[in-house]
Structures are given as structure tokens and as C-alpha cells.
Assembly symmetry: C2
Homo-oligomer: 158 residues x 2
Amino acid sequence: MGRRHGPLPTTEELRIWRDFIETTERLRSHLASRLQSDSALSPGDYAVLLALHEAEGHRLRSSELAAAIGWERSRLSHHLGRMERRGLIRRVECATDNRGAEAVLTDDGAQAFRRATLPHLGAVREMFVDTLTPEQLAAAGEIAQALRVRLDAASGPS
Amino acid sequence: MGRRHGPLPTTEELRIWRDFIETTERLRSHLASRLQSDSALSPGDYAVLLALHEAEGHRLRSSELAAAIGWERSRLSHHLGRMERRGLIRRVECATDNRGAEAVLTDDGAQAFRRATLPHLGAVREMFVDTLTPEQLAAAGEIAQALRVRLDAASGPS
């Protein structure tokens, strides 16, 4: 309402946009299917296991975990409940602290993460890294960086 | 199971991968939020309206529409049911033809599409086209092309 619009993208710019956004969505979906069939994990499961694996003591506050994987707290909370029932993580309440429960990687979770990582990273190499030339890979990094700076500016300080 | 894995991606390759896939997901989500708040349409609604708008006679078979927007038939069928109840499209059964019903853009759907397009394309320009240098935009097109060829090869002939 009242937002002004500059000139619209050209046909060629829109073609690139559609190609880019549709293909990255296909790639994400392809890798999610392979992760599920290879390792019975969703991309969300893997992101949580990865963040806990990389954290000191294999544990993180819910707030830290949410920031690490870029999810809303409420979505993460439901997801962690399901992962806890599958034995992949434990949640430890901390009554003296208002930053939320800690999520802790279990032995089963660590094993699931280790087993999933080799085929998952192999798929990333096959479908992304080895598909691009070194110049294209570097450009993909620069494009991601430019887009992220713009998104950060649009969402304001957080 | 038995699939062989080559060398794993390097730390730098994985950093680019994570940046790339996370940032494109943030971009998709950002544009979806703006489309919803500007025009009360989901990205799926917009994709259907766009495909019908571009089609001859503003109508497509379900099978053609599914191919145009890259969805499974069952997902599309549920989605079209919701769009029909909102008056954005009509579905016309065709008893002599087994390619499924035709979806037809209604006047309300055409109006919703026209109203949504200016702010949506403005957002694409702002967040994607104008965010990248001309060289980065061209590289984004080449990257999408390379990834699509690889995905087509992985999913086999279809």
C-alpha cells in the first residue's frame, strides 16, 4: 500500500530468476529425498544433529539452536519433541535460566549423524560441488553473500 | 547401500554449499511472505495463475498445468480445489478425454494475478535482480542451468 515500484525486471532477468529459484528448490528437494531414503532423517533432523555435533559438549540452549539453524522457536520446539521421542536428542530443563531448555545429542543421535554424513556429503558433492566449475562455485558463494546482505537489511536488525 | 562415495567436499566447499542453500531458502521464504501480505496469494497460487495467464485461452489440462509448475498431480488437484472455492479458477471436466479436467482462469483470478504481479515483480527486482551485479546475475543463470542438467540426469528420462 503506497510502496513505490521501480521498473520491472526484463524478460531475460525474469527467466534467470525463475530458473534460479525453481532449480534451487528442485536441488533442495532432491537432497532431502536422498537423505530420507539413505538415513531416515529429514533436512531439519540433520540440521539439528549437525548443530549439536558442532557445539561444545554436544549441547545447546533452544534459543542458540534456533539461531543456529534459522528456525522460529515454536517450530523448533515441536521438532525437538519428535526427535526426543525417537531418541536422537534429550532435553534438559534448566529452572534457573529463562533461555529455554538445553538440547543434548544422545549416543543414538551421534551415531545417526555419523552414519548420515558420508552419503549426505557425497550427494552434496555429486549434485552441487562437482556439477559446477570452480569459477561457478566461487560465484555461487558471492551470490549467496550478496543476497544474504540484502535479506539482512530487509529484515532489519535482529 | 553399496553406493560408493568419492572424496568429501572441503570445508570451504561445504561453507559455500550451506550459504547457498540456506540463503536461497531465506529468499524464497521472504518473497512468499511479501506475496501473501501484498496480495493474499501463496507462491503456489501465483504459479498456477501465471501458468494459466500465459496459456492459450487462459486454460490448461491438469496434466499440462502440473508439468508447467513442476508439481505432482495429486498435490495440484488439492490446490486447485482450494483455488476454485476462492473463485480464482474454474475446473471443467472433459468426459471424452483422460488427460484430466481443464483449469480455466476466472475474471477474478485474472484480476488477482494482475494486482499481484506489480508488487511481486518489484520484490524480485529489489531482492534479486538489483542485488546482484550483471556478472553475478549471468552467473546465477549459468549455475541454475548446470544444476538443472545434473538434476535431469539424476531423475532419469521422464
